[in-house]
């Protein structure tokens, strides 16, 4: 079976696994945290968003070490084994962006988009997700109690919208709704304009998983000695990584598109 078909099956299975909590059918509500970005406010969610647990652990100057360590260890366990493969093979928001990537790729033919993509500051902009993680998940929660999840676009997509659809007329927007709606619209535009735009620049869970690429057992390896620098791998990479020159790049989501695309078979998954 082709690698990308396997990945699609994995994403679909894990999407359904993340949604086994719908009331009584089967109504599975566990005490785990997802290792990816998904909201516990989703009517069918089985587990908790790791960011929610982290926020709660440092709520207004308090520190609950159990809620702090628990999501980090779940993410760390998978991170040490597979690095950021969770983003490429499991995350439902990754699956959504896989769906929008065809549209985003079409935007690549516009010069302005290409120019933005090759802008030298682009690689620094990728640090935004680390800033969001530290600044909005930890620091603001600790100091003032303002929390990321109140405005989270993923929460809006997987929690607010399904609840509004399933319970028409039962809810009215609160004061967070207008701001969250604007952020959600920007999120939606982003994923249609830039392939994996959310994963590249903003996903705080990706920021947690990314550094594990440096030590994970599973990683992508490039045989640079025989590489002809045709750059097909970099062209197909949804994270826009310079694949021939990457070595355990924190941005790599191990989707395997470069593995499939390399005409000489010089890019492989390695398990140590």
């Amino acid at each position: 079976m082709k690698l990308q078909i396997k990945r699609l099956i994995s994403q679909i299975i894990l999407f359904f696994s993340a949604n086994l909590g719908y009331s009584k059918y089967p109504g599975l509500k566990t005490g785990f945290c997802y290792p990816f970005f998904y909201c516990q406010a989703c009517p069918a969610a089985t587990s908790a968003c790791p960011l929610r647990s982290l926020e709660q652990s440092v709520d207004k100057g308090s520190f609950t070490w159990r809620l702090f360590l628990f999501p980090l260890l779940i993410i760390g366990f998978l991170g040490v084994l597979t690095g950021r493969a969770v983003c490429g093979w499991a995350c439902p928001i990754g699956l959504l962006q896989r769906g929008t990537s065809h549209v985003a790729r079409r935007f690549k033919k516009y010069p302005i988009v290409r120019k933005l993509g090759t802008y030298k500051g682009e690689k620094y902009f990728r640090y935004t997700k680390y800033f969001l993680l530290i600044g909005f998940v930890f620091v603001t929660s600790y100091l003032i109690g303002f929390i990321f999840t109140d405005l989270c676009p993923v929460g809006f997509l997987t929690g607010t919208i399904p609840i509004l659809i399933l319970n028409p007329g039962m809810f009215i927007p609160n004061y967070f709704f207008p701001v969250a709606l604007v952020i959600f619209v920007l999120f939606f535009v982003l994923i249609f304009v830039i392939e994996r735009g959310w994963c590249r620049y903003f996903c705080p869970v990706g920021a947690l998983l990314g550094p594990f690429n440096k030590i994970s057992f599973l990683h992508i390896s490039v045989n640079t000695n025989n590489c002809t620098h045709c750059n097909v791998c970099s062209y197909v990479c949804p994270m826009a990584i310079d694949v021939p020159n990457m070595h355990r790049d924190p941005e790599c989501i191990l989707c395997g598109k470069c593995v499939t695309a390399c005409p000489n078979g010089l890019i492989t998954y390695e398990r140590r």
Partner: protein
Amino acid sequence: MKKFVVLQVCMLVLVSSLLGGMFAFTPVYNEVRSGIVLVLCLSCLKLEPKTAVTFTFDTTNNQPHPGFVLENLSHGPVFLHYSGNSCAGCDTMYPVIKDLFSINFGKQDMFHALVTFNNFTVAYIYVNVDSTIDELRDAQSIYDQTQFGSIPMFTIVTLGYDNGKVKPKYTTIYGTLTAFGCNTDAQRLVFLQQLVQESIQMYQENEAGYHHL
């Protein structure tokens, strides 16, 4: 290369043993389940249930009123306040409730007091879903008319007359009371004052016919 593999193995052993240890020796699994997964923070949801302020005798699935509510009902109406950590809506309502009953308590504590409201006793019970006991947490589902387990949630249990019998009657409201047109703390306070006053009147009208526990 060997050093790197040793590092990887050490990391895996460390992470998996810590994770296993947390499952085995700490209540974190239950904390996450009961404090995050089973609770719907209305601020995170960015929505509030559109409910009416109507007193009813019918609890969810006709469950009996919990013992601690019936015990406190002998003193006056019972005001149940469900709240949680990391919940902006709960933070908004917390000072309003403190003003309503002129009381002071820590947001993360369990709190129970017989308070005086317009010269009448009201039993106030504060439940922080992140640090409470099962009996109090389970009572939420009995009075949760929407069945979402959402916070903040307020239930007032009083007495009502039903087919020749005086029985506990209650109403439940949610969130920051946006559904009732309250957008400021002052409006929220006035709304709650009127609601508590109404529950006191109902209690006074029916108390004589009620057989207390």
